[in-house]
């Protein structure tokens, strides 16, 4: 089962390698990982997507929490949450496919961020599955390069 885990940690050298070392050392897997500073510059927020049964996810969250530089660990997928990923795709766009590419981008509410005579660079944001969907659709037209950010996520605010 897929889990999205959010980790607040000290923004110091070496902290990220403590997290990744923990995963490789204990044989947990990381599907994606994204990390950046929070409002408080001394603290970073790391979002990682992993897979495992209940016991493994329990170990992952406990082991993360055990790291001295980790402040807070939340398994976001325990509750309602929003997740987003961004992808940059360089897709072939020649005379006969340019219009088709633009239509697809429009359907996915993407943006063209770089244009060359033979290609577009496209930016698309959405859930991991939406990102995967546009990749699958553009693939037959000819994707030259993709870069994905990995998922970031946030728990939904309480409705009460």
């Amino acid at each position: 089962m897929k889990h999205t885990i959010s980790v607040l940690l000290q923004n110091k050298p070496g902290v990220l390698s403590r997290v990744t070392g923990l995963f490789s050392g204990r044989g947990f897997n990381i599907e994606s990982l994204s990390v950046a500073e929070t409002l408080e510059p001394s603290i970073s927020c790391l979002t990682l997507v992993t897979r495992g049964d209940e016991a493994i996810i329990e170990q992952i969250t406990k082991q993360l929490h055990k790291l001295i530089d980790v402040i807070k660990v939340t398994d976001i997928s325990d509750s309602e949450y929003v997740e987003r990923e961004m992808v940059l795709i360089r897709v072939k766009a020649e005379a006969q496919t340019r219009a088709e590419v633009l239509r697809v981008i429009d359907i996915f509410r993407g943006k063209v961020v770089d244009v060359s005579p033979k290609s577009y660079a496209v930016e698309v944001t959405g859930s991991a599955s939406k990102v995967q969907a546009i990749i699958d659709i553009l693939k037959p037209i000819g994707i030259q390069e993709i870069v994905r950010t990995g998922t970031i996520a946030m728990a939904r605010a309480s409705k009460k």
Partner: protein, 566 residues
């Protein structure tokens, strides 16, 4: 505020923590620190190899309960310490390891004797630091000690670049340390305590399964009180020996791969297993699905990651063992549901069954005339030291025989590398223990193979007038691996025959120590007596039955009830 040098500040931090003895080996990157040490009242024990320094600090920590300190130089000095750091990490031993580092402008340049020791030790320390700014020196040192000794203890490494240590710094007054992101849970949840105690009252066949956490949290008295109050049998892990008196009638001895028949049968037939400061290691559980299959499991541990890691726990209690056991004892004392005589009587049939198992397969060995059986040597050591010596061990058969046949009645008289299984641990650890308690008898139970891994520390023992005794159970084999080869590899003794072994008597003499040898059973007692009476470091070379095996034995991957017996 008066400024002092970084190295003076570090020494002052050690004094602040009550450190009297450290173990170290110098090098270019730590000359300043050694220089500052010379003006302090702290003794530096100059070891002969950095692994020995960290093991010695570890030995001192295990027998005293204090934080052990080692000081190593950069590069090879630091990497030589890694095995011993990992040893302490696996057994949760509080250490602070100070390593020298090249000056900060050179870090990352592949400078002479540079190594990324913080990167290397990240997975085998509780935490580690590289101090890049001199103003962080004092706070980092204080934090390192705090982390090492609190919660689940462990080694903390502080890497000290040469230029940082040379700078002048303030030495602010010590304030209580509060870390936002590190707050171990000491107090148990009262609801969980009540749930556990109620479950205990309902149990017919309970077993207390005691690990090193009981020793680390000094909870042996609380544990003993609980066991006797409820008349419950107790088994201990290798790390837990001494957590409950080994000669108490309720003690079933050690469990697991080389545990007693009684202990393994009791766990397999228990309806309630109360794990206290133990971590369900594979050497304890054997095949997981056959471990305590009928039991409800209560697990007390200060480290939440230990709970439900290997075995699903029914009633977890995250707390310091001492606090949790105190709360349980108090619950029983105050509970109207608890009638001590009645509960004690209700466990009598279970204890009778346990007694039957012991009668059927007691811990023992076959005597063979005047051939020295290693178990006999340990029994004699126990007898002639009145069970009161500090015993350290190497790793392998020697370690298991020591664990099986020495009766540990008190905590902190036993130092052995349990989790990592590090050969070469025993001699330096014995030196560390003896430095802490010069008046106590300290014996390293060794094999002829593992003693050679840190034999150079004989010189350290001599230099610091540290009359430790070394009992070598000499079979000219790497005995434990040979035993596996005998039992599971058609007696193909690949790489386990020690074709050349030094003459240990002459070797002792070469170091200015005393060497004694026994080749017959009838000589054992005299050799031990002479060693104990000698005010010098002594090697006792016991030439033992060559192919003696450690039994009982649960073959790897089997259920703990499938024991090979004597």
């Amino acid at each position: 505020m008066e400024k002092i040098s970084g190295s003076q500040a570090i020494i002052r931090c050690l004094q602040e923590e009550g450190i009297k003895t450290i173990f170290g080996f110098p090098g270019g990157a730590v000359i300043d620190l050694f220089d500052a040490l010379m003006d302090s009242d702290i003794t530096n024990v100059l070891v002969r190899h950095e692994q020995g320094a960290v093991h010695a600090a570890d030995g001192l920590a295990r027998v005293t309960g204090e934080v052990g300190v080692a000081l190593l130089t950069s590069g090879p000095g630091a990497t030589n310490g890694v095995t011993a750091i990992a040893t302490a990490y696996m057994d949760s031993i509080p250490l602070v390891i100070l390593t020298g580092q090249v000056p900060t402008p050179l870090i990352g340049n592949d400078a002479f004797q540079e190594v990324d020791i913080v990167g290397i030790t990240r997975p085998c320390t509780k935490h580690n630091y590289l101090v890049k700014d001199a103003k962080d020196l004092v706070s980092t040192l204080r934090e390192a000690f705090h982390i090492a000794r609190t919660g689940r203890p462990g080694p903390v490494l502080v890497d000290l670049p040469k230029d940082v240590v040379a700078k002048m710094v303030d030495f602010p007054e010590k304030k209580p340390i509060r870390m936002q992101n590190y707050q171990p849970t000491y107090e148990p949840h009262p609801g969980q305590i009540e749930k556990a105690c109620k479950k205990i009252l309902k149990a017919k066949n309970p077993v207390l399964y005691v690990g090193g956490g009981v020793i680390l949290s000094n909870a042996n008295e609380e544990l003993t009180e609980l066991a006797r109050k409820l008349n419950m049998p107790v088994t201990m892990t290798l790390m837990g020996l001494g957590g409950f008196p080994g000669s108490d009638p309720l003690s079933m001895g050690m469990l697991g791969m080389h545990g007693s028949y009684t202990a393994n049968m009791a766990v397999a037939n228990s309806d309630l297993l109360i794990a206290v400061g133990a971590r369900f290691d594979d050497r304890v559980t054997g095949r997981l699905d056959a471990f305590a299959p009928h039991a409800t499991i209560i697990h007390i541990d200060i480290d939440p990651t230990s709970i439900s890691k290997n075995v699903k726990v029914d009633i977890p209690i995250v707390a310091d063992c001492k606090h949790a056991l105190t709360a349980m004892n108090a619950w029983f004392n105050n509970s109207s549901d608890f009638n001590r005589e009645q509960v004690a009587a209700s466990h009598e049939p279970w204890l009778a069954t346990i007694g039957e198992w012991t009668k059927k397969h007691p811990m023992g060995y076959l005597d063979e005339g005047d051939i020295i059986k290693p178990q006999y040597v340990i029994q004699k050591l126990d007898e002639l030291t009145h069970g009161d010596a500090i015993i350290t061990t190497e790793v392998g058969q020697n370690q298991m025989w020591a664990a099986q046949f020495y009766k540990f009645n008190k905590p902190r008289q036993w130092a052995t590398s349990g989790g990592l299984g590090t050969m070469g641990y025993g001699l330096p650890a014995a030196i560390g223990a003896k430095m802490a308690f010069p008046e106590k008898t300290v014996i390293d139970v060794a094999g002829d193979g593992s003693i050679q891994m840190n034999i150079q520390e004989l010189a350290t023992a001599k230099q610091y007038k540290c009359p430790v005794k070394i009992a070598i159970l000499n079979n000219n084999y790497l005995g434990m691996v040979r035993q596996w080869q005998e039992l599971f590899y058609n007696k193909r003794y690949a790489g386990t025959v020690m074709e050349v072994t030094p003459d240990f008597v002459m070797l002792a003499q070469a170091y200015g120590a005393v060497g004694l040898r026994a080749t017959k059973k009838s000589e054992v007692e005299a050799v031990i007596k002479e060693a104990l009476a000698t005010d010098n470091t002594v090697i006792m070379d016991f030439v033992i039955a060559r192919e003696e095996c450690v039994f009982p034995m649960v073959p790897a991957g089997k259920a703990t009830t499938e024991m090979l017996l004597v």
